[in-house]
């Protein structure tokens, strides 16, 4: 009897769960569900941590003076017009009139002045460094702001003006330390969206700012659920439980998603890189001949086909992606195994004891460890391919797979190039912003660890140093391109890194949910331009 009653209760429960209409599975009109990968803190500029999509989401709530357009070219945003003095030292900006904070107060030049002074004082890894070039900010009237720089700066427009989110002075004035800034929950910005609800680790709900100075945002409500697992997030997209996903679609899913009715797959260049990083302080790997030989064994074209199913662009030896603004078109690299063998023989790396592994002239065998990231199957398989190809020419490599923090600890201890390095080779990668910065080649390859802050291999070349310093203070685009081209030619010869490929950015969304996404080159569809038109 008891058992029968129990069965009845269970049956009723299941029936209720199934019969009640699937509340919340369908889309509510005017609202758009976009899956994100992780908790983004309070969505305030000081809880911001990662480039894409962290910055893109945070800048839906906060505005910048300029904003990168679909080609990553900074266009005026809060600013109506800008004038730069001939020496590049004085920037006079005029703001749009009638810009309001979410709490209704006016946004004025005082807020701009406050923001840049604030980020210089209260350290943040993204806002503080590009602001250090600022000597003084003046706010002569509510809509005019004047920046006086210590020296001309190639990256000022993109990295400072189009990047640093403007903070409301009346709220941030009293917040004076990093811990306090990270704890600030009063998320008042001037952007097209306001934070209506935030449940840590679950979701954010953003609502359109009806007073937005550039016009009404096109979507009334943005729901950003955190979906931790990539596969699950695409299942949710397929099952119409979300309309879009910040993640890049895995190559093996592209064909399937392209066939799905109502699903749109957009793809284009990706500015993130997957590369083979050498340690130039290693007694053997400091020899450019050996690095060239190693690069010549790696068939990046086959890698793109095998690992990325063709959805990637083969690496360019000067680091920059062929679609990036400073790319030098003539710089190419064709792998050739015969050439690798010739290079090794020529440089005196021969198998002296017939064990199948070549030795240097002093008898040291060519044996290396190759670090790669756990949780990234494509990189692990890439590392395995490299190991096989190197074995073919008599170089022995051990692939070591480790988690992110452990890899950083060896390749880039404490994220400080000055702290040295403890590795041979690593399959590594840089995110998209590294590609678009005009100063990228200096950051990556300058030998002074305080200037070449991304030079994790410890590469040294005085010529590159000089050109890098020149590049950083060059404001004229034509001259920039000229210097960058020369730098790429040298890098392609020295090969401090060997770029394997640049994975394409492939994104999928449901057209019925929303169809006015703007694809930003190298990054994707998650950006302000997808929801509002640039201010006129």
């Amino acid at each position: 009897m008891a058992l029968r009653r129990w069965r009845l209760v269970m049956a009723t429960l299941v029936a209720v769960l199934l019969l009640v209409p699937a509340a919340g599975i369908g889309q509510t009109p005017g609202s758009l569900r976009l899956a994100i990968t992780r908790d983004e803190g309070h969505l305030n500029p000081y809880t911001y941590q990662t480039g894409y999509p962290g910055w893109n989401l945070m800048t839906l709530v906060y505005d910048t003076l300029f904003y990168p357009d679909a080609n990553n070219e900074p266009i005026p945003w809060l600013v109506r017009s800008a004038q730069v003095s001939r020496d590049g030292l004085t920037w006079t900006l005029t703001l749009h009139p009638n810009i309001r904070w979410h709490d209704g107060r006016s946004l004025t030049s005082e807020d701009i002045k406050f923001t840049f002074e604030y980020v210089i004082k209260v350290a943040h890894s993204r806002w503080t460094p590009p602001a250090r070039v600022i000597e003084r900010v003046d706010a002569p009237n509510p809509t005019t702001v004047v920046f006086h720089l210590k020296n001309a700066d190639a990256g000022f427009r993109l990295r400072a003006l189009a990047d640093v989110p403007i903070l409301p002075k009346h709220i941030w004035e009293s917040v004076t330390t990093v811990p306090a800034a990270r704890a600030l929950t009063n998320v008042v910005g001037s952007g097209p969206y306001m934070v209506a609800e935030a449940q840590p680790a679950q979701f954010y709900r953003l609502t359109a700012n009806p007073q937005y100075f550039a016009g009404q945002p096109r979507v009334r409500e943005l729901i950003l659920p955190v979906i931790r697992d990539a596969t699950v997030s695409f299942t949710a997209l397929q099952a119409a439980q979300i309309e879009a996903n910040v993640r890049t679609l895995a190559p093996e899913l592209v064909a399937q998603f392209e066939r799905l009715p109502g699903m749109k797959v957009v793809r284009g260049a990706g500015f993130a890189s997957t590369l083979l990083q050498f340690n130039m302080e290693h007694p053997l790997l400091k020899d450019p001949k050996l690095r060239q030989a190693i690069a010549n064994t790696i068939n990046t074209r086959l890698m793109v086909r095998l690992l990325m199913l063709g959805f990637a662009v083969g690496g360019s030896p000067g680091y920059l992606h062929p679609d990036s603004p400073l790319y030098a078109p003539g710089v190419k690299f064709e792998a050739n195994k015969a050439k690798a063998v010739a290079l090794l023989n020529e440089a005196g790396y021969r198998d002296r004891n017939n064990d199948g592994i070549r030795e240097a002239q002093d008898g040291t065998p060519l044996r290396f460890t190759l670090l790669t990231l756990a949780g990234n199957p494509i990189r692990i398989r890439g590392a395995e391919l490299i190991r096989t190809w190197l074995r073919d020419v008599g170089i022995d490599t051990t692939v070591r797979v480790q988690e992110d923090a452990a890899i950083i600890d060896q390749v880039w201890p404490e994220f400080d190039v000055c702290k040295g390095r403890r590795f041979d080779m690593a399959v590594f990668g840089w995110s998209a912003p590294v590609m678009t910065r005009p100063t990228a080649l200096r950051d990556l390859f300058h030998s002074d660890c305080n200037i070449g802050v991304l030079n994790i291999g410890g590469y040294k070349n005085p010529q590159i140093d000089r050109m890098g310093e020149q590049l950083a203070i060059t404001v004229d685009p034509a001259r920039q391109k000229q210097i960058a081209t020369e730098m790429q030619k040298i890098v392609a010869q020295d090969l401090p890194v060997h770029v394997l490929f640049y994975p394409d950015t492939i994104m999928a969304y449901r057209q019925a949910g929303y169809d006015r996404w703007v694809f930003q080159k190298g990054q994707g569809i998650i950006n302000k331009l997808s929801f509002v038109d640039p201010p006129k």
Binding site: L17, V20, A22, A23, G24, I25, T28, S31, R33, A35, D39, G41, H42, N44, T47, Q49, G51, A123, H124, S125, R126, T128, P129, P130, T177, V178, R182, A183, Q199, P200, A201, Q202, F203, R205, E221, I223, P225, I227, R228, V232, S233, T235, A236, Q238, A239, Q241, D404, A405, A406, I408, D409, F415, D416, V417, C418, S431, D443, N450, V453, L454
Partner: protein
């Protein structure tokens, strides 16, 4: 009894202190630094002086023993600290996550125990028959099934396929609900993760109950009862089951202690906001205060459950009482 309790108390206090110390030391011995989570991933562009300033503001520049003393002091005042990664007070984070974990893991454990015990009892009773062997096979299958795989299958079939359940999350977003609709919404989100967790927990309970029952059924007092002509039902429920439940109770209490640590894999697959996911993400982010606080809560809970088990045991097993 009092002396027994005092002895136990000292013992547990020592265990707790040891655990707290380990909680403090282990995360700091892992390679990697929390800096990137404090200031963002462009950390490379930050000069050394500024990094030092930030380490100072978060108290990370202090000698390890001082950090340890500060940690102990704060803990004594009930202050769990601030999350590096999320910029929120940890007490708030844990209170936010705990109900979800208790709901998911607690309910699954209860359900799994009920089902596992009943099933184990039936299997032992029908020892050697096709019912028993079949049950053993099914239990082995679920015992060896990875939880993420089972979760994925459930998502593919019941959520994506039939569309009966939501694929992710713990609640519907942006639709205000109240009353019965609110409860049903939570239950619908709970159903699949709970079913997965229950299914992989049942086999353990089943096995314990089955073996305990088999051992008890071989005891002489059971034979005596049967030869006295006591009805089979009464032999099973009245004589055998009550003794066979003792090991089940022990395992249940131990499991109950770990309920607060959540179910990392299932919480991740279903994007469920529990403690397991919190802990996992904190480890990846080297979020020392969160790692410490979460392990602390788990430790306290496990020790607490042990104390309760110690106290309950003489009641459920009179032999323990008499032995003392």
């Amino acid at each position: 009894m009092l002396r027994f309790l005092a002895g136990k108390g000292v013992q547990y206090a020592l265990v707790l202190l040891f655990a707290i110390t380990l909680n403090f030391l282990l995360p700091r011995m892992m390679p990697g630094s929390p800096l990137v989570f404090l200031v963002g991933e462009d950390i490379g562009f930050m000069p050394a002086a500024q990094r030092a300033q930030i380490m100072r503001e978060f108290g990370l520049d202090q000698a390890l023993w001082r950090q340890y003393l500060i940690y102990l002091g704060n803990l004594a005042q009930g202050d769990l600290g601030f999350s590096y990664q999320q910029g929120r007070p940890i007490a708030e984070i844990i209170l936010n996550r705990l109900p979800w974990t208790l709901l998911l893991v607690g309910l699954s454990l209860l359900l799994a125990t009920l089902i596992g015990v009943t099933w184990g009892l039936l299997a032992a009773w029908r020892r050697g028959t096709s019912v028993d062997l079949g049950s053993l096979g099914v239990a082995m299958f679920f015992e060896s099934t990875p939880s993420f795989w089972l979760g994925m299958i459930f998502i593919a079939v019941f959520a994506a396929g039939f569309g009966w359940f939501p694929i992710f999350g713990a609640q519907t977003i942006g639709v205000p609900l109240s009353g019965a609709a609110w409860v049903v919404d939570r239950l619908r989100h709970l159903a699949l993760p709970m079913a997965t967790l229950t299914l992989i927990t049942i086999p353990g309970m089943f096995m314990i109950m089955r073996y305990a029952m088999l051992a008890v059924l071989d005891e002489q007092y059971v034979t005596t009862a049967r030869s006295k002509g006591v009805a089979e039902r009464r032999v099973i429920y009245g004589h055998a089951m009550r003794n066979a439940l003792l090991p089940v109770a022990t395992v249940f209490m131990l499991n109950l202690g770990t309920v607060v640590s959540g179910a990392t894999v299932i919480e991740t697959v279903f994007s469920y906001p529990g403690i397991g996911r919190l802990l996992f993400e904190a480890v990846l982010a080297r979020d020392y205060p969160v790692i410490q606080a979460t392990f602390f809560i788990v430790t306290v809970s496990v020790i607490g459950m042990n104390i309760i088990a110690d106290l309950l045991y003489p009641i459920i097993d009179p032999r323990v009482r008499h032995a003392r």
